[in-house]
Amino acid sequence: MNTNIPILEIENLKASVGSTEVLKNLNLKINKGEIHAIMGPNGSGKSTFSKIIAGHPNYKINKGEIFFKGKSILELEPDERARLGIFLAFQYPIELPGVTNDSFFEFIHRSHKDNSVNLSCGDNWIDMLNFVFQTAQILELPINDDFGERCVNEGFSGGEKKRNEILQMLALDSELSILDEIDSGLDIDGLKIVSKVINNFMNENKAIILITHYQRLLDYVKPTYVHILQDGKIIKTGNLELVKEIELKGYDWLKESF
């Protein structure tokens, strides 16, 4: 197999929700071993972009293609995309009342196994839970003995919810992980821990997309490229220097130069 095939390749993507066009001709290529940061002002389409890759049903693709490891995923259901190796850490993780973490992980494990997808953290879900428990301790999640009995994200603080997303990212060990504002809701200690975990998690076979508003996260997790998303398309690509410029000047100067 050709190892040069990008993990993710987006070509001329146009998408809409209702009658509003939200992505307007977006192009992006992400190779193995790369971390891409996506920045942009509020409402520029960053979260939309992540949901579209994950296959959220509210969005309609009007034109273009999304290739994951060389194959189009546009016709795939969200769960099929997930099992292929696309993970999305939600900006606002969802609470699942009555569903315990134990049973959530059990369902996740079974769903992968039923579809012949091997999870690196173990052949059975007990292994997976053990892995989750150990990892949770590193993440300083409130992983007392009752973590398994607690319901997914219910009663979790903002920071705990974000840590829980990272926990799931590690358990699923996907090739592409999209982290939508993983830094919001985390205090500085939390940010440091999560950054460390992300850096350890990253390797030459994976890719990560970081969606963020602030430079702070990028000080800890160094991106290969930085993209500025505005009005549904990428208007500029650069490196950390670009981030510094934005911290200084905001986004408006880019608009003018564009």
Binding site: P57, L74, P78, A82, P93, I94, L96, P97, G98, S111
Partner: protein
């Protein structure tokens, strides 16, 4: 793109055929259709009952004749012709059974198909089963263990012979003759049922259980259950129901009476899985039940937990009359309706005793073209100082054609009272489903998981085996053919 998150697709997803739709080929001993005094004499004769029960029945029949069919519910079903029903039917047995080994193997096979732990090896499951097949108890296990504790667990008709005083003082105490139309009908023609008496200072060490099964076409089944726990005693009782598939309506009007004395407790759990009727007509079981608990003693407690997935039409309100001071009543319910099922269910808490407390947690899941109504009543009388009630009713709608209503009645006649009522209605949130999908869990599994999560608070109240069974039953009902 992906249309699966759209709710209307869920309709087909929940339309799974009734799994236990078979009938057993056993000759039945039946009497002719219809209801009159002669029939009641005949039932008493067939069952070889003492005069005590005959009198009870005749009094009830006289009252029932004067009563009118209640019209206040908005359930829709064809008028019932009470003269077109067979009021007694028993499987024919050549001789009296000494043990289960002697029972008709066909019968035992039926229980096996239903997964009822009745046979010797299944005794280890720690459940004593008084199996009711149509109208006659065919076998009772654990009898010896119970008798060493002086716990009585037998059929009502047997109890009427052996313990006439207990029957005389307790039968009809919680649900008096003439209480309502269907309970009165039951009092006149009740076929059989369980009688359970736990003496003072006795904790029943295992759950007692009755499995009901309706097997004869057009044989109305009228179960009568009476449970008594004396001072400082405890009993947990399980009731589970499955019925074979028939196109004719099957009437079921049971009465359950619970009575607790000082510091005594009864925990009554029900999992119901009756045939709900076919897709286009109402062929399912009609279930009009009267369940009432009487907390007579100080600090006595009655707890109803029910998981309802069956019946074409359900009409029942397990209630607690909290007479004793500090007495407690609880009601935990999951009602799952689909296709054309109609359910009007809820609870009634009557506070008479000082500082009596009650709690109602009701979860309704409503799919297809079904109708799911919660109707609850909380009454605090003048004497009930310091009474407290908390009610919570949540409904989950699946699809666009299901109907869910919450109708609470609250009446307070005492100023020192605390009543809380919360209600919510919604559908399985799309963002919750998407979250699960994104973790690789397929749509159907995700829904099952979320719905079972919605019910968890109630499932947790069931005894362990039942809790697992209930969760399994719900998942089974939800399993569908969505590709």
């Amino acid at each position: 793109m992906n249309e699966k998150l759209k709710n209307n697709d869920l309709t087909e997803f929940v339309n799974q055929k009734y799994k236990y739709g078979f009938s057993t080929n056993i000759e039945s001993d039946k009497i002719q259709k219809g209801l009159n005094e002669e029939i009641i004499y005949l039932i008493t004769k067939k069952k070889n009952e003492p005069e005590l029960l005959l009198k009870f029945r005749l009094r009830a029949y006289k009252k029932w004749k004067k009563m009118k069919h209640p019209e206040w519910s908005d359930l829709q079903f064809p008028e019932i012709n009470f003269q077109d029903i067979v009021y007694y039917s028993a499987p024919k047995q050549e001789k009296q059974l000494k043990s289960l080994d002697e029972a008709n193997p066909e019968l035992l096979k039926t229980f096996e198909k239903l997964g009822i732990p009745l046979t010797e090896q299944k005794r280890l499951a720690n459940v004593a089963v008084d199996a009711v097949f149509d109208s006659t108890s065919i076998g009772t296990t654990y009898k010896q263990e119970l008798s060493s504790l002086k716990i009585i667990f037998t059929s009502i008709s047997e109890a009427a012979w052996e313990y006439p005083e207990l029957i005389k003082t307790h039968l009809g105490r919680a649900v008096p003759i003439g209480d309502n139309y269907y309970s009165t009908l039951n009092s006149a023609v009740f076929t059989d049922g369980s009688f359970c008496y736990v003496p003072k200072n006795t904790i029943c060490p295992f759950e007692l259980s009755t499995y009901f099964r309706i097997n004869e076409p057009k044989s109305g089944q009228f179960e009568r259950t009476l449970i008594i726990t004396k001072e400082n005693s405890y009993l947990s009782y399980l009731e589970g129901c499955t019925a074979p598939q028939y196109d004719d309506n099957q009437l079921h009007a049971a009465v359950v009476e619970l009575i607790t004395y000082d510091n005594a407790e009864i925990k009554y759990s029900t999992v119901q899985n009756w045939f709900i009727g076919d897709d286009y007509s109402m062929g399912g079981v009609m279930n009009f039940v009267t369940k009432r608990g009487l907390c007579l003693g100080h600090n006595s407690k009655i707890s109803w937990t029910q998981v309802e997935t069956g019946s074409g039409i359900t009409w029942k309100y397990p209630s607690c009359f909290l007479v004793g001071s500090e007495s407690q009543g609880e009601f935990y319910s999951v009602a799952f309706t689909r296709e054309y099922q109609q359910t009007d269910t809820g609870s009634k808490m009557l506070h008479v005793g000082k500082n009596s407390r009650s709690r109602i947690i009701s979860k309704g899941i409503c799919a297809g073209k079904s109708k799911n109504i919660y109707r609850g009543s909380v009454k605090v009388t003048r004497k009930a100082q310091g009474a407290r009630n908390y009610s919570q009713c949540d409904s989950l709608l699946i699809g666009n054609s299901a109907i869910s209503n919450t109708i609470p009645y609250i009446s307070v006649r005492n100023p020192i009272t605390k009543i809380e009522h919360e209600a919510s209605v919604g559908s399985v949130a799309e963002d919750q489903i998407f979250y699960c999908l994104q973790r690789g869990i397929p749509h159907e599994e995700a829904l099952t998981m979320l719905i079972s999560g919605f019910c968890q608070e109630v499932f947790n109240k069931l005894p362990l085996e039942f809790s697992v069974e209930a969760d399994y039953l719900l998942r089974l009902k939800l399993e569908g053919t969505i590709g």
